[in-house]
C-alpha cells in the first residue's frame, strides 16, 4: 500500500491545552478516524493509525506551531485534507496547514515562547527580578533524567531572552530554550525557576509556544 508521509501544523488552545501528550495522541487518532481521510495504518497484527509528534508540549501551554506526522495512502489535496480534518477536530485543536516533512525530528534544536507573568507586584519589579536572575553566574536546577536520577544542571547558558515588554501588572518575556534530543528545557522549568528565585507570587502565568527551530536556526517544518 502506498504511504505518503505528511506533516501537519496545528494549534492547541482553549480547553485543549489541558490535554496531556499521551491523551493528545488518542484525541488525534479519534479525530482522524471520524474524518474518514485515507489515513495510513501501521501494518501489523493490530493495525493502528500511525501518528508521531516531533516535540511534546507541556500541559497548559498554548501553541500555534505544533507538529504532527502521519501518512496517507493516496495523493491528497492538502487544503481539502485540512478542511476535512478540521471538521472532525475537538474544540481547541485546529490544523493550520499540511505539507510533506522537510526536517527530521532529530534536527529540532530550540523552541521559542512568549510568557506572560501577571502579578500584583508592579511590572518594573518583575522585570528587574528577571534581570537579576539573568545576572547571576549560574542558575542551578535539579533535572530528572532517566538514567542518572536527579542531577544538578546550570541552565543559565541555555536561557536566551530575546525581549521583554511590560504593561500594567504584566511582564511579557520572549525566550528561546533548548528543545533538542540532547538537551530539552521546557517552558515550565523556566517559569518555575523564575518564580522560585524571584519569590514573586504570580496570580497567573500564561505561556505560548511561538516557534520550533532546527539546530541550524531554520524554522522546523
Amino acid at each position: 500500500m502506498e504511504k505518503i508521509n505528511l506533516r501537519a501544523v496545528f494549534e492547541k488552545s482553549g480547553h485543549a491545552v489541558f490535554i496531556s501528550h499521551l491523551d493528545l495522541m488518542r484525541a488525534m487518532q479519534r479525530a482522524i478516524k471520524r474524518s474518514k481521510i485515507p489515513v495510513w495504518y501501521s501494518q501489523g497484527f493490530n493495525p493502528h493509525i500511525y501518528l508521531n509528534f516531533p516535540l511534546a508540549l507541556s500541559l497548559g501551554v498554548t501553541s500555534k506551531t505544533e507538529f504532527m506526522d502521519f501518512a496517507v495512502t493516496e495523493p491528497c489535496d492538502y487544503a481539502a485534507l485540512t478542511e476535512t480534518l478540521n471538521k472532525a477536530m475537538p474544540e481547541g485543536l485546529k490544523i493550520l496547514g499540511i505539507a510533506e516533512p522537510v526536517f527530521a525530528n532529530k534536527d529540532i534544536g530550540f523552541a521559542e515562547y512568549t510568557i506572560e507573568f501577571k502579578s500584583d507586584v508592579p511590572s518594573e519589579e518583575m522585570l528587574s527580578a528577571l534581570e537579576n536572575m539573568m545576572k547571576a553566574d549560574t542558575i542551578e536546577i535539579d533535572k530528572r533524567s532517566k538514567s542518572k536520577g536527579t542531577v544538578k544542571l546550570d541552565i543559565k547558558p541555555h536561557i536566551n531572552i530575546t525581549g521583554t515588554e511590560t504593561a500594567s501588572g504584566l511582564l511579557h518575556v520572549f525566550v528561546r530554550l533548548p528543545a533538542g534530543l540532547e538537551l530539552n528545557i521546557n517552558s515550565n522549568v523556566f517559569i518555575d525557576t523564575f518564580a522560585a528565585l524571584s519569590g514573586i507570587d504570580f496570580t497567573s502565568v500564561y505561556a505560548e509556544r511561538t516557534k520550533i527551530l532546527c539546530l541550524n536556526g531554520e524554522n522546523f517544518r
Partner: protein, 616 residues
Amino acid sequence: MLREQIEKLLPLVKSPSRYIGGEFNSVVKDKSKVDVRFAFCFPDSYDVGMSHLGMKILYSLKNKRENFWCERVFAPWPDFEELMRKNNIPLYALESLDPVKEFDFIGFTIQYELCYTNILNMLDLAQLPVKAKDRTDDMPIVVAGGPCVCNPEPLADFIDLFIIGEGEEVNLELMDLYAEMKKKGCSKREFLEAAAEIEGIYVPSFYDVSYNLDGTVNAVVPNNSHAAKTVKKRIIKDMDSVYYPESFVVPYCEIVHDRAVVEVLRGCIRGCRFCQAGFIYRPFREKSSDTICRQTKSLCETTGYEEISLSSLSTSDLSDIDETLRRLSEYTEEEKVNLSLPSMRIDRFSKELLEQIQKVRKSGLTFAPEAGTQRLRDVINKNITEDEIMRACKLAFDGGYTGVKLYFMLGLPTETDDDIRGIAELAEKITDLYYQNPNRQRGKHIQISISCATFVPKPFTPFEFEPQASIDEIKHKQKVLLDSIRSRKRINVSWHNYRVSILEAVLAKGDRRLCDAVYEAWKAGCKFDGWDEFYNYDAWMEVFERLGTDLDFYAHRMRSYDEISPWQHLDYYVSKDFFIRENKLAHEEKTTFNCREKCSGCGVSKAVGGACFGKN
C-alpha cells in the same frame, strides 16, 4: 465566571482535562433559551462515571429536547476537591462551568452502595445543604435513580425524589412537569406532590416508617394523599424502538471503559439467585440485529473509537447472536474497529465466539462459575455444569490460551468447606486438562487466577432473606481454600476486601435509620469508599458504634419470609412469593428453568401484559 479560577488550578492537579469539559460531542446550549437545566451527577471519579452507559443514554435523550439542557458532573478527585474548597469553587457542571446549585435538577445515578458518601460530599461541595429538609424552594430538586434505588432508604434523608426503574420515559415526564410548574411559580412541595403521581416516582418524605420492638419494619405508610401505597418501577416496553444515543461524548483522558458501547438487550433470562440485576431489570427484551448494526455504525462514526463493545447482562443470550456477530464483523473489519464481547456465559461459549474474542486481544479469558461444586451451583441456580466449564476451557486451550481467570463467591447460602475445596479441585482439574491437551501451546505453563468476592445478599433476590457470612467465617473459608490448593505456583488466589463487603451488605439491606450513619460517616471524612486507598473501615465502624447501629441486625441475620422489608413499598413486579419460592428451592438444591425454557411465574409478565416469550 468560574472558568478563569478553574483554569488557574488545573496545572496543579492530576489529569486536568477531566475538569474543564469541551470534549468532542459534549452539548453546549444557550442557557437563556432552555426551560430546564439538569445536572447529571455521577458520584465517582470522571474515569469511572464517563464509562457508565446509563448516563450516556439519559444525557443524549434529555439534550435532544431543545428546551432541556443536561450537563455532566463527576466527583472531583481529592487533590482537586481540596483546591476547590480552598478557593471557594462550588461544584460545577462540565458543559457550562456553571455552579450546579443554580440548576433546576441535580440528578444522581446510584450504581453501588459505596458511593453514598460521595453523594453527600458532592451536595456539600455544591454549597447546598445535604439533607432534603434543609434545602429551600430556591434550590435545585435533588433526584436519584439507578439500581441501588431499589432500596433507597439509607439515602431517604438526602434525596427529594427517587426514580424507580428505567429512566428513558419518566425523566422526560418529570422535566416536562417541572417546566410547566415552574412557569406557574409552584412551590417545591407542590412539585413533589405532582411528581409523586407519576408512575415510578418515589418521594421518601411522603412516607412514614414505623418499627417493631425487635427493630424490624412495622409498616411504611404514605403521609400524603398524592403518594401511592406502593411505587411501581418503570419499564420500557420495546427495546428495539427505545431511544439510543447516536453519539457519545469522547473523553480526552483514558477512562475505564474507553470504547463505544451498544446495549444489545436488557434484563436476563437466567435467574441466578444471588444476582440483583437479574431480577430488577426483568423482563428480558432484546434489540434486533438491524438495530444493533445501525447503532454500532453510528457510534463508531461519530466518536472515532477503535473499539465497540456489545453490552448487556448476558450478551451470549441474544437470540440471533451468531448472525449479529457475522454482520457486525463485516463492518468492524472493514473499518478496523475492534469488537469486544463481555458477559459471555460458559455454556454458550463456542469456537466462533472464541475466534471473535481473539480478534480483539488475546489477554485473559474470564469465566464465572461462582461456586466450586455442582451442589452449590444448583443452590445459586447458576445452571452451569462442570462439563461445560471443562469444554469451554478446552476450547480456550486449543485456541492458544495459557490461562483463565475464574470468578467465585465465598459465603454463599448453604456453603460448606467441601464447596470451598471444590473451588480448588476445579482449578486443579483445569490444570490437568491443560497439560493433557495435545493442542496446547508448547513450552508454556498454565496460569489460573481465582478471584473470590464475598457474597452480599441483595434486596429483590431470592437471597434477600439470607445472612452474610461473618468476618470469622470468611477468614476460615479463605484458609480452607488456600490449604486445599496444591499447585500454588500455577494457581493464584485473590479476594475482595471483606471489610468492604460488609458495608455493602449493611447499606444494601438497610432502612431509613441508616441515613444518620451515612451522614456521620461523611462528616467523619469518608468518601470514595469504593477505592481501597480511601476506604476507611475504622471510621465507619466508629460511627456505627457511636450510633448504636447493630451490624448483625442488618447484615448477618436470617430474615423471616413474613418480615416487612424496608423496600416492601417499592414494586419491581417480581413478586415476593416468587422470591420465597426460589429461596426454598435453593435450600432444596433445586434449579429453576431459564425464562426462555419455561416461565417460572416471577410476576413480571403482568407488566408486559402477557408472556415474556412467545406463548409459553
